[in-house]
């Protein structure tokens, strides 16, 4: 739940059900969580899986500190980070990923995997993700492949000269 809330802060989505607490619901369609961020984070290939529990605990500790500083009363029913509203989650993630934060690499890794899950569906085969209507690939408008699962674009060029070459271009086409 904590890591879902973190992924949702990176690329936010709509609530999956009315009482969804991890996903803040600041966007009108699916975000990193719906795209499979937890699958990407937990994948054996990624290498982050053994650290996820510690990262979730660490994130909650930072959320508690943040809440104490800001005078925010946390909801004991959910983890501290989940209890924060979306703007506070964003401010805390900005703090954790700041170039001066000693733990920034860990928090940036979590962000990177969240992004890759959304933009590239890296936890699943791309063709299968497209077939399943993967929300991230759909939002970026990633095109469909040919029937054999390979991409080819027969129409790809404006087909005409659109600029003058540099006057010092050599016969081989390189700069002089």
């Amino acid at each position: 739940m904590v890591l879902e809330a973190y992924a949702d802060t990176i690329l936010p989505g709509e609530k999956r059900w009315p009482g969804d607490r991890a996903v803040a619901g600041v966007s009108s369609d699916g975000g990193a969580v719906a795209a499979g961020a937890l699958l990407a984070l937990g994948s054996p290939e990624g290498g982050l899986a053994p650290a996820l529990d510690a990262l979730a605990d660490g994130l909650d500790e930072h959320a508690e500190e943040y809440a104490a500083e800001a005078g925010i009363e946390l909801d004991p029913e959910v983890p501290a980070f989940v209890s924060l509203d979306f703007p506070d989650r964003v401010r805390l993630v900005q703090r954790l990923t700041d170039p001066t934060h000693p733990e920034r690499e860990a928090w940036i890794s979590l962000a990177m995997f969240s992004v890759i899950a959304f933009d590239a569906a890296a936890h699943s085969h791309t063709v299968e993700a497209l077939d399943a209507g993967h929300v991230g690939l759909k939002i970026i408008g990633f095109r469909q492949p040919d029937s054999d699962g390979l991409w080819r674009f027969d129409t790809y060029s404006y087909g005409r000269q659109l600029a003058q070459p540099h006057p010092d271009t050599t016969a081989s086409g390189s700069p002089a």
Partner: protein, 551 residues
């Protein structure tokens, strides 16, 4: 292991620096073994798939450092398998660069003029050809048209690409499925194999030691073919000559780790790293303005929406490659594609009120992805990169099974480098924001530092022993018989894509390596034709090679 294998020439790495030298030495009669730490993939093994564990992560390395992250090839064929095949020659002024020490960084023996015959060898071998406008994809056309609108010139880039086979799929970074990209898998490497060279994938060299007969013992580990963090075997090979071409992110680390056994390394090993002054900007285009201002329209009437279509960089602007401008203020701009993930995380939201690289506004930006255009700057940085503590194995600590690792490279851009980036950012904005065409933002350096796909100069050639690790024949100073022929040998940023120059330098280094091998009793000759048998460029360099052989 109680005994060591032996060979005449041991080559570490199979990218341009390794494949070219391996081919010529094998063709000349030497026994050649190539150790490559990545896997050996070809043809249909190159997948159109972003899934972890597909070819896109098997053949690619992304090493995060302090202030600089390096992307590079990790497979048989090295960078040639994952690159975008742009092969311009470096402009003339580059060879006269002085850098921060105020003396010419390149050896006096090398200029554009003296390197041109060796560029010709590479151009014949791969081969390299000019791109015509009718094969330029929409993204390159858009960049060219915007340059023209802003009063700039723009050139189709020379490439190592078979246009007839290219499907414009833009999966080049995962290896070319259609053999359209003329990687080393299609020329130098099969020719080297035909002449008896052996290529051993997943063999990661850790360090070198000396043998009693004046040669070298190369110590390697064998990596698991899925989880590169796992070592499954180890061994040694003795060789009379060692050619190190592991890439500018790895060659200096192997040498640093070898110091206890080989003795002190030249000061420049692991120093003066250049990221080729690289910098990226992403433009978010207004489709209507593309139609109204530039008059562009695809056959289906859509102005652009074609970021995904193409074959990497196809059009470049060379207006700032002007030798009369001050050093650090010259750069080229090149239209580029990066796939989602790599190509999206660092892109920043123009006019953001919240965070620029993540959050709700970033998600909205992603909806316009097909209207993006990435512009790649290659400028003159200050060789400010330096490698730190040597990792336990390899060139970095691997975090994931494949691809992602943490390295020891430190890079703190100097005012010179920052000035070049700022000038190029302004130039990109001036071209692409004109008349409301787009909004432009540079990629953030606050997430993984700066980044380069063209690491250079970490073990460089030069005339000054204080600031170069190699002499002008690419031999490691004070360690005769060890040669370095990869991007680490290039003295400084080139302001253009460096593969052509790395390859030309490797071609140029071969006669000297042949001479050194002969001096060590290896029966090897120089003079092989191009891998396909072509001889015109070979014949042109034979007089030059004879001079090197006499030395």
């Amino acid at each position: 292991m109680t005994s060591s294998e032996s060979t005449d020439v041991l080559v570490i790495g199979s990218g341009f620096g390794g494949a070219i030298t391996a081919y010529h030495l094998a063709a000349g009669g030497a026994r050649v073994v190539v150790l490559e730490r990545g896997p050996w993939l070809s043809g249909e093994e190159f997948e159109h798939d972003f899934k972890f564990g597909s070819s896109s992560t098997r053949v690619f390395d992304f090493v995060v450092g302090d202030g600089m992250s390096v992307l590079s090839g990790n497979c048989v064929g090295g960078g040639s398998v994952v690159y975008f095949a742009a092969m311009p020659r470096a402009p003339r002024f580059v060879f006269d660069r002085k850098g921060r020490f105020g003396h010419r960084m390149w050896p006096s023996a090398i200029s554009r003029g003296t390197l041109d015959p060796w560029y010709d060898r590479v151009a014949e071998a791969l081969p390299v050809s000019q791109t015509s406008w009718d094969t330029v994809p929409f993204s390159g056309g858009l960049f060219g048209a915007a340059c023209d609108h802003a009063g700039r010139t723009a050139n189709p880039v020379p490439v190592a690409l078979d246009q007839a086979k290219c499907t414009n799929c833009n999966w080049m970074m995962a290896g070319c499925r259609f053999d359209a990209k003329r990687s080393l898998l299609l020329n130098y490497l099969p020719a080297a194999l035909a002449h008896g060279a052996q290529i051993r994938p997943l063999h990661e060299v850790q360090y070198l030691s000396r043998t009693d007969d004046g040669g070298y013992r190369v110590h390697y580990t064998v990596l698991d073919d899925v989880d590169y963090r796992v070592e499954v075997d180890s061994g040694t090979i003795d060789a009379k000559i060692v050619i190190i071409a592991a890439g500018a992110g790895a060659t200096p680390v192997i040498l640093q780790r070898s110091e206890p056994t080989l003795g002190a390394m030249p000061h420049a090993v692991g120093r003066y790293f250049s990221g080729n002054g690289e910098r990226l900007n992403t433009a978010i285009f207004d489709e209507e303005r593309i139609r109204d201002v530039l008059g562009l329209s695809r056959p289906d009437g859509v102005p652009y929406e074609a970021y995904q279509i193409g074959k990497g960089p196809c059009v470049a602007s060379w207006d700032r490659l002007d030798g009369s401008l001050p050093e650090y203020e010259r750069f080229s701009l090149e239209q580029l594609y990066f796939p989602p993930g790599f190509g999206t995380i660092l892109a920043q939201v123009p006019d953001a009120v919240g965070p620029t690289w993540f959050g709700a506004e970033k998600k909205e930006l992603l909806r316009t992805w097909q209207s993006w255009l990435t512009v790649f700057t290659m400028s003159e940085d200050d060789n400010e990169g330096e490698f730190g503590a040597v990792p336990p194995s390899g060139n970095a600590v691997r975090l994931s099974q494949q691809m992602l690792a943490r390295g020891s490279l430190r890079y703190e851009p100097t005012e010179n480098t920052l000035r070049g980036w700022a000038l190029s950012d302004a130039e990109v904005r001036d071209i692409l924001e004109r008349d409301g065409l787009s909004r432009v933002m540079p990629w953030t350096n606050d997430v993984v530092g700066a980044y380069t796909v063209h690491p250079l100069a970490s073990c460089r050639i030069g005339d000054n022993p204080a600031t170069s690790a190699l002499d002008d024949r690419h031999e490691l100073r004070n360690h005769p018989g060890i040669f370095v022929t990869d991007g680490s040998a290039v003295p400084a940023g080139l302001t253009v894509n460096p593969a052509m120059t790395i390859a030309a330098l490797a071609e140029r280094a071969v006669p000297g390596i042949v001479a050194a091998a002969r001096a060590r009793g290896v029966d090897v000759r120089y003079g092989a034709p191009a891998p396909d048998g072509g001889t015109s460029s070979r014949d042109a360099v034979l007089p030059l090679a004879r001079s090197a052989l006499r030395q």
